[in-house]
C-alpha cells in the first residue's frame, strides 16, 4: 500500500480517537477529501520541480506510534536552549511530554493544541483562528489539517509578553521502524503583544522519520513575533514545514530558518500582509553536505499599501547536496508604496553540489520599490589569500569566509544565547575550531 492509501485508511482509525461530533471534525473531513483528490505533489508541478517526494512515499511509515515513549531530560538537554530559562512544549513521537515541558496559563496561554481543540475555554480563539490562514487546497497542508490533533498552542493577549522565550521541540525516539508525524501549531499574538519562539524537530536514531507540520501565526495590530526554526536533523529525517502568517497593521514578524541537516527539508513559508505599515522579514542560513536537500519556498503577498518585506537567504552547499530557493512576491494593485526586497546568495564548495534559485515577482501596483538579487559562486580567492597570508590555514580560512558570508542573517537574531548556539552549530558544521566562539 502506498503512503497516500495508508493515510486515507488510517483516517478511519484516527476518527475512533477524536470527537467526531466536534465542529473541528467537519474541517478535518473537508481536508481529507481535498488530500484524497489531490494526493502528494509530484515533480510535474512547478512548485515541486526540484524536490521529489517519491522515495518517501514508498516507506512504510507508522501513522501513529504504537506506544507512548519517554525520554530522560539529560539525554535531550543539548537540544534545548539550556543556557537560559524558557517555556517548553515538548512532544515525543508526536505525543505531549508533560515531564519535559514547562507550560503556563499565567496571563498568557502556552500549552497544547489538544486542549485548545477540545476545551470550551479556548473555543472562541479556535473559532476565529484555527485553519483560517492555512491553505484549504494545498494537499500537504490539508493532509495535516485532516489529522490535526496535537501541537503547540500559544495565545498572547493584548499588551502581554511572556517572561521568557518559548521552545517547541518534537523528538522522535526511533521506537518505530519509521514514523510519520503531523504536528499542528497555532500562535495568536494580540494587539501590541510580543513573543519569541524557537522550534526544532529532532530524531534521536537513524530510523526513518517524516514530519509534515503546519503552523499558523496571527500577528494583530502592532504585535511583534520572532520565530526561529532550527533544522539540524539526522540523515534519515525529512521535514515538510508549512507555515502561514497573517499580519495586521504595524505588526512585525521576523522568521529565521537555520537549515544545517536532515535528509529532505521543504519549507513552505507564506506571509499575508492584511494591513498597512507591516514589516515581514524572512531570513535563512543553509549549510549542507552529503546528499542533503533543502527547498525554501517563500511567498509574500502584499495586500495593502505602505508595507515592507525583507528576504535574505544565504546558502553554502558542499558534497552532493542540493538546494532550492523560490521566492514569490505578489504586490496587489492597491498595495502602493510597497518596499519588497529579496536576496539569495549561494556558495558552492563542491563540483557535485547544486542550487536552483528562482525569484518570482508579480507586481500589479505602479508606485513600489521591489528588488531581487541572486548569486551563485565560489569563495573569493583574494579574500582567501588575505587570510592565509596572516597565517590562517586554508581550511580555517575557508570556514571564516563562509561564516562571514552568512553573518548578516544572524545580526537580527534577538536572543543572544540562541545566536551563540547557532554560531557553534555553524562552526561545527564547517568542521573547524577557530579558537574563539564565533
Amino acid at each position: 500500500m502506498d503512503l497516500k492509501d495508508k493515510l486515507i485508511s488510517s483516517f478511519i482509525a484516527f476518527e475512533n480517537n477524536v470527537d467526531v461530533e466536534h465542529p473541528i471534525h467537519d474541517v478535518r473531513m473537508a481536508a481529507i477529501k481535498n488530500f484524497e483528490a489531490k494526493g502528494f505533489p509530484s515533480k510535474k508541478e512547478e512548485a515541486w520541480k526540484y524536490t521529489s517526494l517519491n522515495s518517501l512515499q514508498k516507506v512504510d511509515f507508522s501513522i501513529f506510534p504504537k506506544q507512548e515513549n519517554t525520554l530522560e531530560y539529560k539525554d535531550v538537554k543539548r537540544y534545548f536552549l539550556h543556557e537560559i530559562d524558557s517555556y517548553k512544549i515538548v512532544f515525543v513521537d508526536g505525543i505531549y511530554s508533560s515531564f519535559l515541558s514547562e507550560t503556563t496559563h499565567d496571563g498568557v496561554d502556552i500549552c497544547l493544541m489538544s486542549s485548545a481543540l477540545t476545551k470550551p475555554m479556548y473555543k472562541q480563539v479556535i473559532d476565529v483562528y484555527f485553519n483560517k490562514i492555512a491553505s484549504k487546497d494545498e494537499s500537504l497542508t490539508t493532509l495535516n489539517t485532516a489529522f490535526s490533533r496535537e501541537g503547540a498552542y500559544i495565545y498572547i493577549p493584548k499588551n502581554k509578553m511572556p517572561k521568557k522565550p518559548i521552545e517547541i521541540l518534537h523528538f522522535s525516539t526511533g521506537n518505530e521502524a519509521s514514523l510519520m508525524l503531523q504536528p499542528r501549531n497555532l500562535v495568536v499574538v494580540e494587539e501590541n503583544a510580543e513573543v519569541q519562539i524557537i522550534e526544532r524537530h529532532q530524531s534521536l536514531t537513524s530510523n526513518e522519520v517524516l514530519t509534515n507540520a503546519v503552523t499558523e501565526i496571527y500577528a494583530a495590530k502592532s504585535a511583534i513575533v520572532d520565530f526561529y526554526k532550527i533544522q539540524n536533523d539526522v540523515a534519515t529525517a525529512s521535514l515538510i514545514d508549512n507555515t502561514y502568517i497573517d499580519q495586521k497593521d504595524k505588526s512585525v514578524v521576523r522568521l529565521h530558518t537555520f537549515s544545517f541537516g536532515g535528509k529532505m527539508t521543504r519549507n513552505n513559508l507564506n506571509f499575508y500582509q492584511n494591513g498597512e505599515y507591516i514589516d515581514s522579514t524572512m531570513k535563512g542560513v543553509t549549510i549542507l553536505g552529503e546528499k542533503q536537500h533543502v527547498d525554501h519556498h517563500t511567498l509574500v503577498h502584499h495586500i495593502e499599501p505602505n508595507c515592507e518585506s525583507h528576504q535574505d537567504y544565504k546558502g553554502i552547499y558542499g558534497d552532493s547536496s542540493t538546494g532550492v530557493f523560490n521566492g514569490k512576491i505578489i504586490v496587489d494593485k492597491i498595495a502602493q508604496k510597497t518596499n519588497a526586497f529579496q536576496k539569495n546568495n549561494n556558495i558552492l564548495i563542491s563540483d557535485k553540489a547544486s542550487i536552483n534559485s528562482k525569484p518570482q515577482l508579480e507586481i500589479f501596483a505602479d508606485d513600489v520599490k521591489c528588488s531581487h538579487g541572486c548569486t551563485i559562486g565560489q569563495l573569493d580567492e583574494d579574500a582567501m589569500f588575505y587570510l592565509r597570508s596572516r597565517g590562517i590555514p586554508e581550511k580555517e580560512a575557508r570556514a571564516l569566509l563562509m561564516y562571514a558570508f552568512a553573518n548578516n542573517v544572524l545580526a537580527t537574531v534577538r536572543i543572544p544565547e540562541l545566536k551563540k548556539r547557532i554560531n557553534k552549530l555553524i562552526a561545527k558544521k564547517l568542521g573547524v575550531n577557530l579558537g574563539f566562539d564565533l
Binding site: 588575505y386 592565509r388 597570508s389 597565517g391 590555514p393 586554508e394 571564516l400 569566509l401 574563539f436
Partner: protein, 250 residues
C-alpha cells in the same frame, strides 16, 4: 634574510616580473618605487605566495630556504608579513578575534601553545596604544565599514601583533591623511629592530620622509632598473620616472 634571485613571474601567461634580484638583510629598510603597472604589487604578492602568479624562473629565499613549495600561511608562520593595499572585509569576526586566531595558528605551526589570554590582552593593549587605536575599534568586524585610513592602520596593528621578521607594506601610505600617515610611520619605526626588515612599496616619496629607507629601488617593466640610497627617492620626486625610463631605454 630575504634573498630574491632572478625572479620571473607571470599571470595567465603574461610575464610581469622579468628577473628581479634583491637582498634584504636584518635591520634594513628597503623602498621599492616605480610607476603604475611596473610590477610592485605583483612582487609583494609573489613573495607572500599568491597562487595565481606562476614563478617561471628564479627563487625567493627566506633564511636560505626556498619558498617555492611553501603555502601562504606557511610563509606567514616563518615570519613573513604582507600589509595589503586593499584589505578584505570579514563581517562578524572582530579585529581581536581575528588577530588571536592568526597568532595562535602561527604558534601552533611553530610547536607552541596558544598565547595565554592575559598576555594576549596585554599585547593588544600595548600595540593599540602604539598605533593610537581606540579599544572600541578592536571589537568591530574586521575591515567592515572601515575608512581607507582605518584599514591601513589596522594592517599595521596586525603587523605589530604578529611581529614578523620581514614585513612588506604595499602602498600603506595611500588613502592616509597626514596625521594618520605620521601615526602609522611612527608605529613602523618603533617596531623596527636590528632583527627584522621592512620593505616599503610606494608610489610617492611622502612616506619615506617618515620612514627613512636604507635603500631605494626603482622597478620598471618588471625589473629593478636603479638602486640607490634615500636620495634616489628625492630625485624621483623631483624629476618623475620619465628620465629613468629613457635611461633604461638607452
Amino acid at each position: 634574510m630575504l634573498k630574491i634571485k632572478d625572479l620571473h613571474a607571470s599571470v595567465e601567461g603574461k610575464e610581469i616580473l622579468r628577473g628581479i634580484n634583491l637582498e634584504v638583510k636584518a635591520g634594513e629598510v628597503h623602498a621599492i618605487m616605480g610607476p603604475n603597472g611596473s610590477g610592485k604589487s605583483t612582487l609583494a604578492s609573489v613573495i607572500a605566495g599568491k597562487e595565481e602568479f606562476e614563478v617561471t624562473q628564479g627563487s625567493v629565499e627566506l633564511y636560505g630556504e626556498d619558498l617555492e613549495e611553501v603555502s601562504p600561511e606557511g610563509r606567514a608562520h616563518k615570519g613573513l608579513f604582507l600589509s595589503f593595499q586593499y584589505p578584505i572585509e570579514i563581517p562578524g569576526v572582530s579585529v581581536t578575534n581575528f588577530i588571536k586566531t592568526a597568532i595562535n595558528e602561527s604558534r601552533k605551526a611553530n610547536g607552541l601553545e596558544d598565547m595565554p589570554a592575559k598576555d594576549m590582552l596585554k599585547m593588544i593593549r600595548e600595540k593599540s596604544e602604539l598605533l593610537e587605536i581606540d579599544r572600541k575599534f578592536l571589537s568591530r568586524s574586521l575591515n567592515e565599514g572601515f575608512s581607507g585610513g582605518e584599514k591601513k592602520r589596522n594592517e599595521v596593528f596586525q603587523m605589530a601583533m604578529l611581529e614578523p621578521k620581514v614585513a612588506i607594506l604595499d602602498e600603506t601610505d595611500s588613502g592616509l591623511d597626514i596625521d594618520a600617515l605620521r601615526i602609522v610611520a611612527n608605529g613602523v619605526n618603533k617596531l623596527k629592530s636590528k632583527d627584522n626588515a621592512v620593505i616599503l612599496i610606494t608610489h610617492y616619496q611622502r612616506l619615506l620622509e617618515y620612514i627613512v629607507p636604507d635603500f631605494v629601488h626603482v622597478l620598471h617593466n618588471g625589473k629593478i632598473v636603479k638602486s640607490g640610497g634615500k636620495d634616489l627617492a628625492l630625485q624621483l620626486e623631483e624629476k618623475g620616472y620619465d628620465w629613468l625610463k629613457q635611461e633604461t631605454a638607452v
